[in-house]
Symmetry: C2
């Protein structure tokens, strides 16, 4: 019972689905088409090609054993027929035919199918602004665009660049331009923080501070109004509602839009937000037609709501599910939770699940805690501080999200992945306290940072610890609301000396082990804010102060380490 | 309702339980006693102190903010009274009194308690062999022993050392002696592999090969018979059933025995294997007496059976549970699954759950698959190969264990921790195929190695892939059973050329994409063994061969990469 499958789109999901199907049903046939000539590439690698870390764009189209994935490769090694430079025009669902044309000579093509896979991906969002079609304004849609950008910077034709959008691609491109090519790069972002909706404001500010230290400029909370050009029709500047920026190159990285037009025109269900609607088997509203990757809407594993998450990794896994199901299998792709990681120069931001803001928007009575701890045993000679933020629900103690910032990329990603792996099983914070992380001093702490994070959340929920975020500390220290808390540094005298000297008379030091005997130094009519290096001793100091009858006491979570990362230390 | 708690043992669990309890009930009091003067140290750091990576043993007894955890520290910062050099002699459970004595002057002490915590840890196993009490034969029981070893090697008094036992501590000690001090070190292990019961034989051999390449010598499958001494009563050699080894220093690292004698003598339940029996609240058979850490028996989260796992990380987490419960809480420690990681020079071995052998012993119809894949996108410039082994149950598809070997420590540990975090939720291999690992080319592959591992297990279970372990390949290649399989290298000609030239006429090369057209070169009356770099192409080749009617085909899992790590390539 041989069948013929047509796949529209040959970048990530399409090839995966086609190859998997052919392995399961070698006797069947597959025709895969794509508008572009360059297919089956690792689009997430584009910033590393632009930076020069990857010297040849063919690497993004090659297997691990250095074969370029072109038409011949798919024919010989996968048994898949590929037609490049071919655009699908219409799906005749009753006749089960895709009507297409060759782009070079407009030859019409008629592609009958038993089953069809829609893998059309997404398109960078156009802003619809004046000057957006000027030369040098780039929306990075494919490998050709990446090659043009790399070519321009490599030839020294770019002195100043503006990146619109401070999401993953925008920041990775800003790093690529700044780090390897010395291009003076400014990022314009309409939201008041980088990585909006991806991480909360504290971690975003830590990452922002690092990016700025590497020379990237930022215009947050600004909205682009126009791209200005020179006589040659090339971009020379960007005007926002607050600034005028010079630019030889503009990269618009303001999100992507699912390519669902063909599906919509064919009468398939497409959501209001524009993604093709699929079930857990990744079938569209026509059971013979499957869809996945950037062109579909997914179910969020935590909220259960539909959402959109264009990620190459999801596309690959969905491609396998589709390949299995094309061959009569019953594989499921139940949804996603938004795991991510982004390298920003020497630092890394990673996370999974719901941010505090998103969790609240979704109706959760959510709160978050933040912790700073070394990534390995504190006595191990090479170690780096890592910051983790946990988002959880008050009543149920359910974990909703995990986010982190730190130097040691793999160690941070490992923690995020471990918590992320639990998320779909509805873990509570106590599961985190006892999570059995592999332990040895070169890799983890006996009480690892994820365990401590669960413990912190537990103590906050029980009312044993009252925490203040580093951003809240900053506001208090800067006397935002006219409050006059008593700031108590509970580190040892030698450690606190420098700050005592430079922070002025508002900064007081009593080592944690001396608080009980020096209680009368602490005013009982003002709020007390306790600070230490990371928040561990200030918690113990808080316990002592509360026991002595002081009620309005708070401990700064993450302590001076977090304040330092934020640039908010006194 | 103030209570008094006595804690016996002040290394890992004791201090944690005491401090947690005092934070929850500041008005209550705690007396913690220990036989030793040096308390509250990170015992897992001892090999890194012996190596010199950690210069001062005080670092192992200090907080992250460099305060030494001595009696004064516990009194001032934790409100815990500590008595060192005090040995508990008897528990009078009806009177609720611990009878103890000072070791220096034999003064008897009477310590009444409302609740009692047993945190006595474990003792290195004595082999009961002639010469075991000679000078220079060390059982590393505490920080004093570590200091003596470090002192001897630092003074150049050790030229040759023998380590008995190739478990975690034995191998870490062997690395410490070899790497930093150039001591000629031999490891004697009674089992035929290193890390017995910890990992399977293939990963063990990969690690062994690396250790040997660093100069550590091994005597596997040998049993120590005697330690021989010189006239001065110092050890000078080790005699096994097969070898005579010279040695100035012997470290016996042949496991530990729970210190449960006091509990047993007090009538508390102690298991046949010697661990104190506790419930999920970590209460002994006397509800007023808690116990945890190296002196208790735990429940295995996968098998549900009792087992023994002396790990500092578990002790810390259990300490918090006990602290909570002493204060009237209802915290639970449900068990453990055996997550571990061990650094061996430049390589790392990590894992969690049941090895194939253990799984079968426990009655599971288990099998395992092995995969080699880079730890990040294959096009990303810095990447390292990682080997993972998955143990799973045939009928239920349940994941039972995950194990790995690789260079990039944090990246490997991250994968193991992610799978480990799912284990207690009874995941099946399909959950691994779709596990949403954080993805970006510098940190992971779009289809990450854990996803590929799930896919491989799926294909093996479905009969689509038939795999041969690298050790099985080695046996076949060495003509172990007189079989004459046809060895087919399905890499591209340029990649295969060298091996074709040196492996002789038994080694055949047909690139995977050419197999269909060169089918008649392959004999149809002999088993075919297909090999590529890592096992991906050989799987595709196998699909093609099976489609053409060949039935006895197998693909070498992990390919030449695994064979290379094993030292088993042709």
């Amino acid at each position: 019972m041989s069948q013929h499958v047509v796949v529209i789109g040959a970048v990530a999901l399409g090839p995966k689905a086609a190859a998997r199907f052919k392995r399961m049903e070698p006797g069947s046939s597959v025709t895969m088409i794509d508008r572009e000539e360059l297919i089956s590439y690792g689009g997430c690698g584009i910033p590393y090609f632009v930076s020069g870390d990857i010297s040849d764009s063919r690497a993004l189209r090659s297997t691990s054993f250095h074969m370029v994935r072109d038409e011949a490769f798919f024919r010989d090694t996968k048994g898949v027929d590929v037609l490049t430079g071919v655009e699908a025009l219409e799906i005749d669902r009753s006749a089960r035919v895709v009507h297409a044309r060759r782009l070079n000579d407009q030859t019409p093509l008629r592609l009958p199918y038993d089953k069809l896979v829609l893998a059309m991906g997404s398109t960078p969002r156009r802003l619809g602004l004046p000057g957006e079609t000027l030369g040098g304004v780039r929306h990075v849609a494919n490998l050709h665009d990446a090659e043009r950008i790399r070519d321009a910077v490599a030839k020294g034709r770019v002195k100043k660049a503006v990146v619109v959008g401070a999401g993953f691609i925008g920041l990775e491109m800003a790093e690529a331009l700044t780090d390897m090519w010395g291009v003076e790069t400014s990022v314009v972002e309409i939201a008041p923080q980088i990585l909006p909706r991806v991480v909360g404001p504290v971690l975003a500010r830590m990452a922002l501070r690092h990016l700025r230290s590497k020379g990237v400029r930022f215009h947050l909370g600004e909205s682009v109004r126009e791209f200005t050009g020179n006589e040659a029709g090339r971009v020379c500047g960007v005007r926002t509602d607050a600034s005028r920026l010079e630019a030889d190159l503009v990269i618009v990285a303001a999100g992507v839009i699912p390519n669902a037009g063909l599906a919509r025109a064919s009468g398939l269900d497409v959501s209001a937000r524009g993604g093709i609607v699929v079930n857990a088997r990744l079938q569209t509203s026509d059971a013979r037609i499957y869809a996945g990757g950037d062109c579909v809407e997914l179910r969020h594993l935590i909220t259960g709501d539909p959402f959109y998450l264009p990620m190459g990794s999801l596309a690959n896994r969905q491609g396998r599910v589709i390949g299995t199901n094309l061959a009569g299998g019953a594989a499921q792709f139940e949804g996603a939770q938004g795991s991510f990681v982004v390298k920003l120069f020497d630092k890394t931001v990673a996370g999974s699940g719901l941010t505090l803001e998103t969790a609240r928007t979704c109706g959760f009575d959510a709160l978050s805690v933040l912790i700073v701890q070394p990534d390995r045993a504190h006595f191990y000679p090479t170690r780096e501080a890592m910051t983790l933020e946990l988002v959880f629900e008050r009543g149920t103690r359910r974990i909703l999200g995990i986010f982190g910032f730190g130097s040691a990329g793999d160690a941070l990603v490992g923690r995020v992945d471990a918590v992320a792996a639990m998320l779909r099983y509805r873990p509570v914070i106590d599961d985190l306290s006892n999570l059995e992380m592999a332990y040895s001093p070169p890799f983890a702490s006996a009480m690892d940072i994820v365990n401590s994070l669960g413990n912190l959340a537990d103590n906050v929920l029980a009312g044993r610890n009252a925490v203040l975020g580093p951003d809240e500390f900053e506001r208090l220290w800067n006397n935002g609301n006219g409050e006059r808390p008593y700031f108590l540094d509970c580190r040892e005298e030698a450690d606190a000396r420098q700050l005592v000297a430079c922070a002025g008379e508002r900064w007081h030091n009593i080592p944690q082990g001396r608080i009980r005997e020096r209680l009368d130094e602490i005013p009982r009519d003002r709020p007390v804010v306790v600070v230490c290096n990371t928040g561990a001793r200030s918690y113990e100091a808080l316990v002592t102060l509360k026991e002595s009858g002081l009620e309005d006491v708070a401990s700064v979570q993450g302590g001076l380490a977090a304040l330092g990362s934020l640039g908010a230390a006194p």
